[in-house]
């Protein structure tokens, strides 16, 4: 994604954040779908550290999303999905995503005011 007059570092960062949160939501949903699947290890998604580094370098579009397997202890069936954690994370994740969307919309609202189209 290029940074142009309309799309600046802020919108690029928010775009990356929404992307990362979407990936995390998918991983959480997958974990919940595999709640009782034998030998399934929960997936954990991280994009914040990469996004922070990319922001410090001045180009948020360089941020990447990484996924790893949870190191939590497994149950007898070799599965380590923790349902309380996943449902909590799912709620929090959606709220974070809504927050990022609101910020993006606020940014666009500013732009609309600037171009005289409220």
């Amino acid at each position: 994604m290029s940074i142009t007059g309309i799309s600046d570092a802020v919108t690029a960062a928010l775009h990356q954040a929404i992307n990362g949160l979407d990936a995390r939501q998918q991983a959480i949903s997958s974990n919940i779908a595999n709640l009782e699947t034998p030998n399934y290890l929960a997936k954990e998604v991280d994009f914040e550290s990469s996004l922070r580094a990319a922001l410090e370098d001045g180009d948020p579009s360089k941020a990447t999303v990484s996924v790893s397997q949870s190191l939590a202890a497994t149950r007898l069936n070799g599965n380590n999905v923790n349902i309380d954690f996943e449902l909590l994370a799912s709620s929090e994740n959606v709220m974070r995503q809504k927050l990022a969307v609101q910020a993006l919309n606020a940014k666009y609202q500013l732009l609309r005011t600037a171009i005289g189209n409220t």
Binding site: Q26, A27, S29, S30, N34, E86
Partner: protein
């Protein structure tokens, strides 16, 4: 990222898996008192085999039923000489299904299904918010 609104598919796959499990448990319980004569195999308990699905993104793409396994066809041979199906020694065959096990599976499958419904609703929430971008 996979298909548009892909997380809904992930939650749907989870609901499908737990619904299949519920079906299997219901079938096991429905047949728990089946009696056969000793020359016929007993009702075999149904087990559902489930595997995680990957879509190349690494974030996972839900779960899928990949097959079924069946319990012991020998069942439990019990002495019941008054039963019409009893053989010369007074034996009949009953399925080797434990009701306590089935009730536990029933709870697990039901809670799993409910959790996936929640995951579906959360994903829908998130997509609804994303659809407001630019409004």
């Amino acid at each position: 990222m996979s298909a548009i609104f892909g997380i809904l598919d992930v939650a749907k796959s989870g609901m499908g898996v737990y619904k299949t499990w519920l079906n299997a448990v219901a079938d096991n319980i429905a047949n728990i008192d089946d009696v056969t004569d000793t020359s016929t195999p007993a009702f075999q308990e149904r087990f559902v085999q489930v595997q995680a699905v990957e879509d190349g993104t690494g974030f996972g793409h839900g779960a899928a039923v990949v097959g079924a396994e069946f319990g012991d066809p020998n069942g439990r041979v019990t002495y019941d000489p008054n039963h019409p199906l009893a053989d010369a020694n007074g034996l009949v065959r009953r399925p080797d299904v434990d009701l306590t096990d089935q009730m536990v599976y029933l709870q697990l499958a039901q809670r799993g299904y409910q959790a996936n419904v929640q995951a579906f609703e959360r994903a829908r929430d998130a997509y609804e918010s994303i659809l407001t971008i630019g409004k």
